[in-house]
């Protein structure tokens, strides 16, 4: 491997240690994702999303040359900036999806609360009518 993480961040020679640190962190992250999914603290939709993100991180950690190539293609001078653009972009997409999901959930909760309140009202009235008889 000619290109390393250090290579993309500075322009120094490849440093294997940093690459290994990144790979280890990503693997720990993957285990964490699987653990919380098992405990039902994360739904499969998001498990898949985060596993996909981890896979991307892992790929970048193993083949840092990809980032340099991407930087060249889109005319970003410093490869590290390409990495930042990529990660920030991914974060924006995820946050946007979360706000969309949040809006949908708010609407569902509103519907539930309203139906619940109307049902309670009907039960109250039924009980009152029964007591009258």
């Amino acid at each position: 491997m000619e290109h390393s993480v250090l290579h993309i961040i500075g322009d120094k020679k490849m440093d294997l240690t940093l690459q290994i640190i990144l790979i280890v962190i990503t693997i720990v992250f993957v285990f964490f994702i699987i653990t919380v999914t098992k405990k039902k603290q994360l739904s499969y939709r998001f498990t898949m999303l985060w596993l996909f993100m981890s896979l991307c991180l892992l790929t970048i950690a193993i083949f840092p040359g990809l980032i340099s190539t991407l930087a060249k293609i889109v005319h970003i001078e410093v490869p590290a900036n390409a990495l930042f653009v990529l990660l920030i972009g991914a974060n924006i997409v995820i946050i946007f999806l979360i706000t969309m999901g949040y809006s949908k959930h708010s609407e569902k909760i509103t519907k539930l609360v309203q139906t619940n309140a109307l049902l309670e009202k009907r039960i109250e009235e039924l009980e009152r009518n029964i007591n009258k008889e």
Binding site: V113, Q114, L118, K121
Partner: protein, 229 residues
Amino acid sequence: MKCLVIIPAFNEEKCIKNTIERLKEIEPNIDYVIINDCSKDETLKICKENNFNVISLPVNLGIGGAVQTGYLYAKENDYDIAIQMDADGQHNPKYISNLVKAIEAGNDIAIGSRFIVKKGFQSTAIRRLGISFYSKLIKFLTGIKISDTTSGFRAVNRRTIELFCKSYPVDYPEPETNAILAKKKYKICELPVEMEARSGGVSSITPSNSIYYAIKVGLAVFIATLSEK
């Protein structure tokens, strides 16, 4: 025609009793429902003690969700006309009969406007500025003139009840619903009413959220007119 007065209430312990008693005095035969939006004060207790017809939301939904509950109740119980009225005593029930007549005459919505006959509580200068801005915006986007776009004192017919049951804005709903109705070519009319300064409770619009309000409503009116044909 079967009429229902919808009264959303959030922390209105000071005035809810007076409001309902005045309504019963002026319109003894009309049905009403109070939507208690999970008030933190004694509003619900006062309603129960006085045997008022009340629906209580288990969590706070905000004004939009509360009012929509009223419209859902109106639809469920087959009402022909629904009248929206504030719990804080700003709206005098003596105008209800006029609003109902306007609906019976074939309008889809009748809005009580404090600016036709400029009498009574005219709101603060800054809010009048906001209201006139939304009025101009709706006029520009839909071609329909509504002077009191933020008025929460209004009556609607069955067709509009059904529309409101399907979708109703979450917060600051009036200008947005007016824009939607205008764009959908519903028949809108405005009637003069005199409003009173609130006798208790606080406005949902505070200085700190007024900028949010201004932008949100402007955007909502704009998007509403884009998406409706």
